[in-house]
Amino acid sequence: MKKLLMGTLIFLIPFSPLSAEEDIADLATNTDALYRTGAGAKDGCFTALASSMYVWGFVLTVGIAVLVAVLHQSNSSGAPRL
């Protein structure tokens, strides 16, 4: 009887909630790893675009600022106001 109970218990351990939790954790880790695969390549592209665009944005901002300053000066130097 004792042997039968022990055998049943050993058979049931893989189906226990504890074991299921471990399986879910393993699945989550593997899915996460799969989902994140290629992130290095993505980071490379993102950084390349972000830093170059940052410079482009800065140049654009300076350009707009200069244009505004020039327009402001030409307005205030005797141009007739409507």
């Binding site: 790893a33 799969l34 695969t37 290629g38 992130a39 290095g40 390549a41 993505k42 980071d43 490379g44 592209c45 993102f46 950084t47 390349a48 675009l49 972000a50 830093s51 170059s52 665009m53 410079v55 482009w56 140049v59 654009l60």
Partner: protein, 216 residues
């Protein structure tokens, strides 16, 4: 038992330290290194060139730990890039580098400043993918292609930075200098690197300085 565990840990730690690989490339002359604190994600280093159109060409290097083969990694990368409708991804085949045969891919990305062409060199060694990314405006790309190609082919993975210096005499000189370098005289090492190791490139110099800092 604890002693055995501690010895095993120390052995594996030092094995890992001694086998740690350095990866570097030779960026084009005159390109500026970006402050490492401004880099994102897995990107280790980035260099920016100059452009009259405001969109600066760039080269950056990223690492990623994987448990995949190169074809599987390429498949994952393709999926990630093609998930963005603004991107067009192409596998351009193989490219020889100093580290070994790598894969070259191309991404054209539509942005506010025009279409940007991005070339990526992917090299897999010991479960690490080394990703060298070069980008420039598509309309200016032809002007930078030679520089990108030269930088891509210079990709090197090594366990010892000194051994990559071509001449034995220069290796000895560098070893001697590194042995006497302390926090107080890092400037001397920096001057030596700029003066006598300019051919090794700014990235290699950066890594030598970084390892000298870590060792002292």
């Amino acid at each position: 038992m604890k002693l055995i565990a501690l010895t095993a840990f120390l052995f594996s730690f030092w094995t890992a330290v001694l086998n740690a690989d350095y990866c570097y490339f030779v960026p084009p002359k005159g390109w500026e290194i970006v402050n490492p604190q401004k880099l994102t994600g897995r990107v280790q280093v980035q260099f920016l060139g100059k452009s009259s159109k405001g969109f600066y060409p760039s080269l950056n290097l990223a690492f990623e730990e994987v448990n995949l083969t190169m074809p599987e990694y390429l498949k994952a990368v393709k999926k990630i890039h093609e998930a963005d409708r603004n991107n067009t991804w192409r596998d351009l085949g193989k490219i020889p580098t100093k580290a070994g045969v790598a894969h070259l891919t191309q991404i054209d990305s539509a942005t506010a400043s025009g279409t940007v062409r991005i070339l990526q060199v992917l090299f897999l060694k010991d479960h690490t993918v080394y990703i060298l990314t070069g980008s420039a405006l598509k309309e200016e790309f032809a002007a930078y292609y030679k520089e990108f190609e030269k930088a891509f082919k210079s990709l090197t993975v090594t366990g010892d930075l000194v051994s990559t210096v071509p001449q034995a005499e220069r290796q000895e000189k560098l070893k001697a200098s590194l042995a006497t370098t302390t926090i107080d005289n890092l400037r001397t090492l920096e001057k030596l690197l700029h003066k006598e190791f300019a051919d090794m490139g700014a990235h290699w110099q950066f890594l030598v300085m970084q390892s000298a800092l870590q060792n002292h």
